[in-house]
């Protein structure tokens, strides 16, 4: 249901707050207007504009899976003016949410394939949406590997869900921290995500790789995937660019002729290679 005034956000109430890592929080949001909530639907990979009245809007993904009805979740790090204002709120407060915007992960095309999720730092939220979506349809996919790394143990987000994924027999979870970021009782890997990926020597055959992380991690992860024979159209990632409107009008997020907010944020490596170096 598209709103007549495309700039008017849904009014959302924060129902739960979870501290994920220093300055990183997850909010569960419910629609203040019941009827809007029931009609609201989105798909994995889409994002929205979250706003605090008086401070402005900020762009980040919808972190909860579309298969979970009645609420949406978002995870953000306190960096700019709006996220700082968001971080000051607590359960019961109100925020604005505009969306869903952008394209989606083509989950139907992945039926019967192995899934390899590679995430770094604060980029697990967009991945978590598609991970839970796939886990809720687990029987459709073959083996299911998640490689997630962060700077230190404390920086790992969704710690309780990582435990949950670890206990599941049908999910192979590998967590790592950058060298020096480990604690004494850390049992996971130690090393940067690309090096650990190299150690895991992933099989490319019938496998889809989904990669999200800071540009530096992306830069060193793609060559390793290519080394193990992953084809460009089987590697998915999301692009980040400055956004204001989210629906292809404010002219800010384009990379060459492509709008990241309309033709993205989900791109395959094949598409990425055609884009000019402007992101």
């Amino acid at each position: 249901m598209k709103k007549e005034n495309i700039y008017l956000p849904y009014l959302m109430r924060i129902v739960s707050v979870r501290e994920e890592a220093p300055e990183v929080r997850t909010y569960r949001l419910q629609f203040e207007n019941e009827e809007e909530g029931n009609q609201f639907e989105f798909q994995a990979g889409q994002f929205g504009e979250y706003s605090v009245a008086g401070q402005g809007e900020s762009t980040f993904c919808i972190a909860s899976s579309p298969t979970r009805k009645g609420y949406i979740e978002c995870t953000f790090r306190k960096t700019g003016r709006v996220t700082a204002a968001l971080a000051d709120l607590e359960a019961g407060s109100f925020i604005g949410f505009r969306g869903p915007y952008g394209n989606i992960f083509p989950i139907e095309e992945w039926n019967g394939k192995n899934l390899l999720f590679i995430a770094g730092g604060i980029a697990l939220p967009p991945m978590r949406c598609v991970i839970w979506n796939c886990l809720d349809l687990r029987e459709k996919f073959k083996d299911f590997t998640i490689l997630y790394g962060a700077r230190t143990v404390n920086d790992l987000v969704y710690k309780h869900e990582l435990k949950e994924w670890e206990e599941r027999t049908d999910v192979n979870l590998v967590t790592t921290v950058d060298p020096g970021g480990q604690t004494e009782d850390w049992k996971g890997e130690i090393g940067f995500v690309p090096t650990i990926l190299d150690k895991m020597a992933p099989k490319a055959e019938n496998t889809i790789a989904i990669v999200c992380g800071p540009p530096i991690m992306i830069k060193y992860t793609f060559p390793i995937l290519e080394k193990y024979g992953f084809k460009d159209e089987n590697i998915f990632t999301t692009l980040e660019n400055r956004m204001k409107c989210g629906f292809g009008k404010c002219g800010r997020c384009n990379v060459g002729k492509v709008f990241v907010c309309k033709d993205g944020p989900v791109f395959t490596l094949a598409q990425l290679k055609e884009l000019p170096a402007e992101y």
Binding site: G80, R81, A84
Partner: protein
């Protein structure tokens, strides 16, 4: 003009500078800034009375940072702006060579700050006649009339920031208006936003503006914003005897103080 071209070729051929910033024949305007990287292109260089854009605004540009040494065709205002930039440690002495031009055919090469200071001392400059007339007219207005004058002028502004872009003194990588924690000056181009923007701009240029008028010339709506900074330069000179752009070493007026600064309004 030909010895300007000769000088530019000499500097470029002997690799004394990597770029010469000067003026070339314009398309819409009679002349426009040009960047000469190779000696054979130096023939484009011209200098006549239409060349008044202040080239010192290019010294602090991002693209110039890794270009190396540069030579700048400098009218008197560009030289004064270079001294203020030098005073604010924006370039190392000798990295920017001034090719001082004063409308006559000769070109003086100035490398050190003291050479520039002497040249400026021997070439006094005044506001243009029409600028003086407008400034006197505004000063003669009553307080109420002045408020109305600036409300009518500044309400039209649409915050394109051409005034900031053309000013040699506005080189901050992120200007106050671009910071949003806190959003000190609003982004919105309504009357209040424009009024606060020009007030802050003028105050940040107090004692730094060399009266070159580049801001008013760059303004697409011809808003006479240079009147604000001219009036401040005038009052700073009378209050503190501080002439902007005359010394590379003397402390800038608002970062210095004297025990005997006289004022008549503090009770």
């Amino acid at each position: 003009m030909d010895n300007l071209i000769k000088k530019a070729k000499e500097l470029l051929e002997n690799n004394l500078v990597q770029v010469v910033i000067g003026y070339e024949k314009g398309n819409t305007q009679k002349s426009r800034p040009v960047f000469i990287f190779k000696a054979e292109n130096a023939d484009k260089l011209i200098y006549d009375e239409s060349c008044h854009y202040n080239l010192a605004s290019y010294i602090t540009r991002q693209e110039m940072r890794h270009t190396g040494k540069m030579a700048v065709v400098a009218n008197i205002h560009a030289l004064k702006a270079m001294l203020v930039l030098a005073n604010e440690h924006q370039f190392i002495e000798g990295n920017v060579i001034a090719l001082a031009v004063d409308g006559s055919s000769d070109v003086t090469e100035l490398k050190t700050f003291s050479e520039i200071e002497e040249y400026i001392a021997s070439h006094p400059v005044e506001l243009k006649e029409k600028e003086k007339v407008l400034l006197e007219k505004i000063k003669a207005l009553s307080k109420e009339e002045r408020w109305e004058f600036w409300q009518n002028e500044l309400a039209r502004c649409f915050k394109c920031y051409a005034c900031r872009a053309a000013c040699p003194m506005c080189y901050c990588h992120q200007c106050t208006v671009d910071c949003n924690k806190p959003q000190w000056i609003t982004v919105a181009p309504h009357q209040l936003g424009n009024y606060e923007w020009q007030m802050m701009r003028a105050m940040h240029l107090a004692g730094r503006c060399v009266d070159c008028g580049a801001c008013a010339e760059a303004c697409p709506l011809d808003i006479p914003i240079n009147m604000l900074t001219y009036y401040l330069s005038e009052s700073i000179e009378s209050n503190f005897g501080f002439k902007t752009g005359t010394s590379a070493t003397k402390l800038y007026v608002l970062s210095d103080y004297k025990l005997e600064d006289k004022e008549n309004f503090i009770r």
